[in-house]
């Protein structure tokens, strides 16, 4: 055994795998969508309105699936509620210092918000014609709701990274940038998803789509910085990525998922297929980021 093995190598993996990877991706996507919806609600154009609705069409189902994935991943799914209510004392089970604990509450809360947003979108499009409901939603203080669900969204997107960090596993517990990275990735994947939606549906003004592209560009630049910071913060532990994981990170996440989309967005002449390609790549890159971050640590057995 080599000298001075980092202490995180003497721990055991939780065996969180694909279910959790998908959850992290979808949760980030939903959170990011709510975040973008919020900004558009605050300072957007009238033409952005459809995008806000799309954001909730994405967020709510994503959160529903996320919740199901989370429950399915439990050893004892029928006891999922033990995370909310302490089964013996029937008191609320809440630990502000435990990401998985407050995360459980967060997910619940956020899902409710996305649900409301989801229903409101329907109403706006006039699918649901129940007057009382329409009234109720119109009275809903739109901006406040937007801000709250936006914040919750960012929180959901970010806490998934913090959850990994608040352990003793290699990589996860060896950096302070996982939260930031997952949050930004969530935002950029959400932007990408909305861009695709924008292209798909009329009448979304190109202007809105272009603004989303610029948002994505900015967020991806931040994401790139966060990723670099993370790699440096790992120090020797980063050696774990001198492997296929590293290759996937560089090619899949950085190159395909960030640099190529940046390049495509930077083009002056607008050409919708390029924009679509970029968006698709961002989504794939965002997913691969979760894959690498979760599974490359999972793969390290006790003792390194």
């Amino acid at each position: 055994m080599p000298e001075a093995i980092p202490s995180t190598f003497f721990t055991r993996p939780p065996e969180w795998s694909w279910l959790i990877v998908w959850y992290f991706f979808l949760g980030g996507l939903a959170g990011g969508a709510a975040f973008i919806a919020a900004i558009l609600e605050l300072i957007g154009r009238p033409g952005d309105r459809p995008l806000i609705r799309v954001a909730y069409y994405i967020a709510f189902p994503a959160m529903v699936i996320s919740t199901l994935l989370l429950i399915a991943d439990l050893g004892r799914p029928e006891r999922f509620w033990h995370m909310i209510v302490q089964s013996e004392t029937a008191r609320p089970a809440f630990k502000s210092w435990s990401p998985i604990s407050f995360g459980a509450w967060l997910v619940g809360l956020f899902t409710i918000f996305t649900f409301i947003g989801f229903v409101r979108s329907f109403v706006e499009e006039g699918y649901l014609r129940w007057g009382w409901l329409a009234d109720a939603l119109r009275d809903l203080p739109g901006k406040l709701f937007a801000v709250l669900s936006g914040l919750l969204g960012l929180w959901v997107a970010g806490y998934t990274g913090v959850l990994l960090a608040v352990t003793n596993r290699p990589i996860w517990a060896d950096t302070s940038f996982l939260g930031a990275l997952f949050l930004l990735s969530g935002a950029s994947t959400a932007a990408a998803a909305l861009i695709l939606a924008g292209h798909a549906m009329r009448p979304v003004p190109d202007a809105s789509v272009h603004r989303l592209e610029r948002l994505d560009t900015g967020v991806m630049l931040l994401e790139l910085l966060a990723l670099l910071a993370l790699v440096f913060s790992l120090g020797v532990v980063a050696r774990v990525w001198l492997s296929w994981w590293g290759a996937l990170l560089v090619v899949g996440v950085v190159l395909a998922g960030i640099l190529v989309p940046l390049a495509l967005h930077a083009r002056r002449r607008r050409f919708w297929p390029a924009s679509v390609t970029a968006a698709v790549l961002v989504l794939i890159g965002g997913f691969l980021l979760r894959v690498v971050m979760v599974l490359s640590s999972e793969g390290i057995p006790y003792g390194g």
């Binding site: 050893g75 799914p77 517990a173 190109d206």
Partner: protein, 273 residues
């Protein structure tokens, strides 16, 4: 609360008989790896390999011989949950399944645990694992059920050489320090205590006498609480959120000329006219 109880495991008198492993399995009715049809690990005499949900005691074998055998040692040590005074597992457990008992030990209540598995990576020592029978996370209970009726833990009871000593932390620390002093006097200068000092997670209620670096025994040199990462990551995430917000403000908030689509322009011309 009764007096804090725990283990002092003296690796220098361990004969690697594994009676502790078996006594634990028998008392706690834990299943065997693959119904017993395990494979040879090739790593000395260790075939159970690690602590996990069905191995709550694990005896590690370390062979240290130089080329010509002029120097040689075969170290053995029986590892177990450390019942940390500051316990990472207990810190994160979202269901309250993990509790601290009146003996200052850390116990997972199998009927409460829902198998979220967050405690597994949270433990700095890789102690916890899933038990395939209960589908919950499990580990050493320090024989809570036996302690409650005044019995000593099964593993300590079975240990033929008193390598595993059970008692009050105060007594154990005294005993351990005397033992270290004696060993040093006899020339075993490498003897030291791992985890007896409150500096390590407030003190481990199961601590060890070792004669080589912790890593050699599969123990972390610097175990820490998972919560140490909460602050920094939260700050990082918040900063990222703020920055994302700013980017959002500047990108989604304003138009750029090139965004103007045909419809927009014709609209202006009409106005000029």
């Amino acid at each position: 609360m009764a007096e804090p109880m725990g283990f002092f495991t003296d690796s220098t008198v361990c004969i690697g008989c594994k009676a502790c492993e078996v006594a634990c399995k028998e008392w706690n009715q834990l299943p065997a790896t693959n119904g017993g049809q395990n494979t040879l690990s090739g790593d000395s005499y260790d075939n159970t390999r690690q602590l996990d949900g069905i191995h709550w005691r694990h005896v590690r074998f370390i062979e240290q011989f130089n080329e010509d055998r002029s120097q040689g040692r075969w170290l053995m040590n029986s590892d177990v949950c450390k019942h940390c005074v500051q316990a990472g597992c207990l810190e994160v457990c979202p269901t309250g399944a993990i509790i601290r008992t009146e003996f200052d030990t850390v116990v997972i209540q199998s009927d409460v645990c829902n198998g979220c598995r967050d405690c597994i990576p949270a433990c700095p020592f890789g102690v916890i694992g899933m038990n395939p029978v209960s589908n919950t996370a499990q580990k050493c209970t320090l024989c809570y059920d036996r302690l409650k009726v005044g019995l000593e833990p099964a593993c300590a009871k079975a240990c033929p050489t008193d390598s595993i000593n059970f008692g009050t932390i105060a007594d154990l620390r005294q005993m351990a320090q005397d033992r270290v002093r004696k060993l040093r006097a006899e020339g075993e200068s490498r003897a030291y205590l791992y985890g007896a000092d409150p500096g390590m997670l407030g003190g481990l209620n199961a601590f060890f006498l070792l004669v080589d670096r912790p890593e050699v025994y599969g123990l972390p040199a610097n175990p820490q609480l998972p919560s140490r990462n909460l602050g920094p990551n939260a700050v990082g995430a918040t900063a990222a959120a703020v920055l994302a917000g700013i980017v959002g403000y500047f990108t989604l908030g304003r138009d750029r000329p090139e965004d103007r689509t045909r419809e927009d322009r014709t609209g202006e011309e009409v106005r000029r006219a």
